[in-house]
């Protein structure tokens, strides 16, 4: 399978702290790849380094065959990468509709994608005129994912989609992500191993800023020792 994203040995600093000390992630086109690891391992920083919000000092980020590390994040995003951050980052002062419209990269993106988004998240339709603050956690997560769907994105970076959500909503979110995976490639950061194992085909484990193990999710599910060692789950 063709590789859409190839992260090669990146080192990222935040201030003076050496957060990523050699992370490798290879993402096959059309797959869901989960970044796993304990709290503070560097999963979120890996996503941010890919999109250029915390540019890596060393190493390469190759997206669709081109090196993008060092470019400004809006340029990287404009190449077709959607970012759904942890805590959703919904714009409070904008209405739900404006939160979607702002993501337009080409005029008319929003109108083209509107029906698709409402099919995926019917709840959003009746919330359009509300401000971003009025939404519940689950609605905010839907909006954050919907926002990444407005422009033509080939790769979605989704950070902790299940965080702080009720089990019913997590299930709904998982279905939505599976549906999205039919058209685009997804890199997922997920603390909840159960969720990650059901969604992803591939995984990369990050431990103290280094990628330590990668492979097929099916193999990891049976590798109880690795799960216990790196993820602390039984």
């Amino acid at each position: 399978m063709e590789t859409i994203l190839d992260v090669q040995n990146i080192h990222t600093f935040i201030g003076q702290y050496h957060i990523l000390q050699g992370v490798n992630v290879r993402v096959p086109q059309g797959s869901i790849t989960a970044l796993l690891g304990r709290n503070g391992a560097g999963k979120t920083t890996t996503l941010k380094s890919i999109i250029g919000l915390t540019p890596p000092r060393e190493g390469k980020v190759i997206y669709e065959g081109k090196e993008v590390q060092g470019a400004r994040s809006f340029d990287i995003a404009a190449k077709g990468i959607g970012f759904v951050p942890e805590h959703r980052a919904i714009f409070r002062d904008l209405t739900v509709e404006e939160n979607l419209k702002i993501a337009e990269r080409v005029k008319g993106d929003y109108l083209r994608k509107r029906d698709f988004i409402f099919d995926l998240f019917p709840d959003l339709k009746r919330l359009m005129t509300l401000s971003g603050t009025a939404l519940s956690g689950g609605q905010q997560q839907m909006l954050a994912i919907a926002r990444a769907l407005v422009p033509e994105n080939h790769l979605l970076l989704i950070d902790e989609p299940s965080e702080g959500l009720a089990p019913v909503i997590i299930e709904h979110m998982m279905k939505a992500i599976q549906l999205l995976a039919k058209d685009s490639t997804i890199v997922l950061v997920e603390q909840n191993f159960l969720v990650a194992s059901q969604l992803a085909e591939y995984y990369v484990i990050i431990e103290e800023g280094r990628s330590v193990q990668a492979g097929n999710m099916k193999d990891l599910v049976n590798d109880k020792a690795a799960i216990h060692r790196y993820l602390g789950a039984a």
């Binding site: 999109i51 470019a71 400004r72 994040s73 809006f74 995003a77 970012f83 714009f91 904008l94 422009p151």
Partner: protein, 514 residues
Amino acid sequence: MNTFLRKNTVLLITLAAILALFIAAAQGMEKKDFVITLLRGLSVGSLTFLVASGFSLIFGLLDVLNLAHGTLFMIGAYIGWTVFVRPDTFVDLLTPLALILSGFALGDVYPLLATRIRFGLSLKRILPWALVFTSILLFGWILPRYPIAIWNVGNYGQSPVTYSFMADSGTRLPVLPAAFTEISAPLALIGLLLASILGAFGLALFNNTAQPLKLNWKKFISFAILLLVALLTFIFNDSLTAALTGLSSNWLFVIAVLVATLSGAGLGALIESTLIRPLYIRPIYQLMLTLGMSAIGIEIVRAIWGRPEFVMPKPAFFNGSGGVCPATNFADWWANNCSTILLLDGRVRVYNEIFIPIVGVIVLISIWMLLQRTRLGMVIRAGVQDREMVEALGINVRRVFTMVFALGVGLAALGGILAAPSMGLSNAMGESLFLNALIALAIGGLTNYPGAALGSVLVGLIQQFIIKYGQIGIAIPFTDIIFKPTPPLVPASTVLLMVIILLILPNGLLGKKE
């Protein structure tokens, strides 16, 4: 509705208390005094708002406390004055200015150029310095020799004060001499262009962190436009001067307002893209930089326009006198362009107390529409909250930063030129209004746009009421004492209002809770 009341109880009580205070203040004076004081308050409030709103937009989106904002307000006033009173000087300045800016308009090209040229490490360190140094040398050699028809601050008879007075009394202004004698014209023009490009390239190399990915013709548009402007203004210098001098003072005033506002915006864009941008990661340095710029700005104004205060003449539209003036109704005023109009027996100055507040309201509504109805406004509102996320959506936030900085400084400069015929021009005009603006923002809510308007109006009103009561005195109830507030109480009263409001509502009247 109930939840709105519950959530905003403190705010509503505070607003009611302020309203009650103004009603009480109105009771203590005659109707005509009240009208005049109210309109003066709105006038000062409008000017304050122009400074405060720009400052707050910049702070909200860029996190930059632009301490030079008051100075830029003042510079707007002086630039507008120059266009209005000495159009010949203004036209002479256009060519060198366009050339100086042209190099900086290529800002996006330099990083790419730097990656194309391969040089060794030592050359890489020296090159930016060498370029900037050469550029400074070139500027230093050419600019003093470049002929510009300008007044002489050292000679009272040829100083801005005299020219301002002559323009006001309708005396024809003398023609100022200027010709290429010390330097040949082509050498001066090409030299300035070269100096600008070298300087901008050098500065870009200092701050070369990330490169744009592609180069296209769009990146050259502004450069080409500036070159064209330089060339045209050079060729048609004399006819342009004659055209401006021949214009009626009303049209000249409109041009002065436009030029001052646009120069403010241009200056803002230049400051943001060259000086502020490298310092986003060092906020304290930024603070020191803007403070320094403020001091430098004042010294530059002193050097160019001199220290004495003077007033810019009002355009003919607001300057009629004699005969039926002051006008008693709007039709009379329209027919005679009286400088004053009688409202409820109070003599109101049309420019100061009616025109300025109207402009204030127009700006308030236009910026509000810009923020609420346009994509740029949407990006600004989103960026105030979360810049990173806006960038991650594929939006060039840096360009929006430059635009907002330009808009903010442009608003301040607009305030400056509007204030020039009412407050007059002085080296201190920026400082005092900037202080007003900061207090207004603290009262209204630091990054809240309607809050900036509300705070500015409150500051303007309270100051003018205290000034008025300084003249007529406040009768203290149940006693025979008449209290007359002294002038130092004018600024003190606004600070007191700020302290009280911040004690009750720590985020200001309309500021959001963090």
